[in-house]
Symmetry: C2
Subunit: 143 residues, 2 copies
Amino acid sequence: MRITTQGDYALRCVLNIAAKDGSQPVCIGVIADEEKLPVDYIEQLLSKLRRKGLVKSLRGVKGGYILARDPSKITVKDVLEAVEGEAFEMICERFRNLKKKCKSASTDCVLRVVWMGLKKRIDEYLEAETIGSLLARAGTGSA
Amino acid sequence: MRITTQGDYALRCVLNIAAKDGSQPVCIGVIADEEKLPVDYIEQLLSKLRRKGLVKSLRGVKGGYILARDPSKITVKDVLEAVEGEAFEMICERFRNLKKKCKSASTDCVLRVVWMGLKKRIDEYLEAETIGSLLARAGTGSA
DNA sequence: TTAATCTTGACAAAATATATCGGGTATTGT
DNA sequence: ACAATACCCGATATATTTTGTCAAGATTAA
């Protein structure tokens, strides 16, 4: 079980934008350069973030990306979900999405209970961490 | 982020064995049949569980698998780790394993802190759940 | 000995993750 | 108007992981 580079990259992009003063949009080229990420790849990720309403984009010369709302209102979970779908997808849901049949998918399935509990834990944790809190932590060096 | 069918299947196999009276080993064919899982696939999973010391195997006629220790001493995390490696692998570690370079992998990386916190939450939860507790829950129907 | 059963490694197929590319659209500055 | 910059979007390509299958071998009970 792991988060993918998509989630990691997306978070780095958002953090990069958030760390700037916000007086002007940050363009993909700069982000890719500073974070050492493939520009064509994070372009897709930023598009997803935009469609989910986490960032806003401005086209043309002087264009780029800015956060759509206050960093403290953007959770780590928001960003992960934007690029990866659910932060934690239960295997039961996965089977459903793949049109496969989970033989034990009754509501009282013992494992289902475990996965639901795990999902709850994960979601709670990722909702508690925000871009704002990460930024503050980075600033104070108390990481 | 998700657990794979390997983890799910492995847990179903262990639960299946644990649910029996233990007077005789359970063979793969029976487990596969009862759990509706591909026999050749779970064969590999059970091999991993054996190598990790979670189950014991007996060959020949009347052979099969039995739990290596008390169900209450086998955690969900034990089973997941046996077949999937770490229950939650941090992206940083993954990069290392793939011999790739994570540019931001300094000890004070803000995201690293997040992943470490998440890993801790996940591991704690999965260590708290045991085959024994799941079995008890299934028995009482209080799921 | 024979049949049942685990053991092992190799192979194959499917799904996902990670990019890369090309052409299009909007905006700014001249 | 025009050129330069930068986002937009869909298609395609590659790599990796996941999932599943197969075949030959080893062990044991009856």
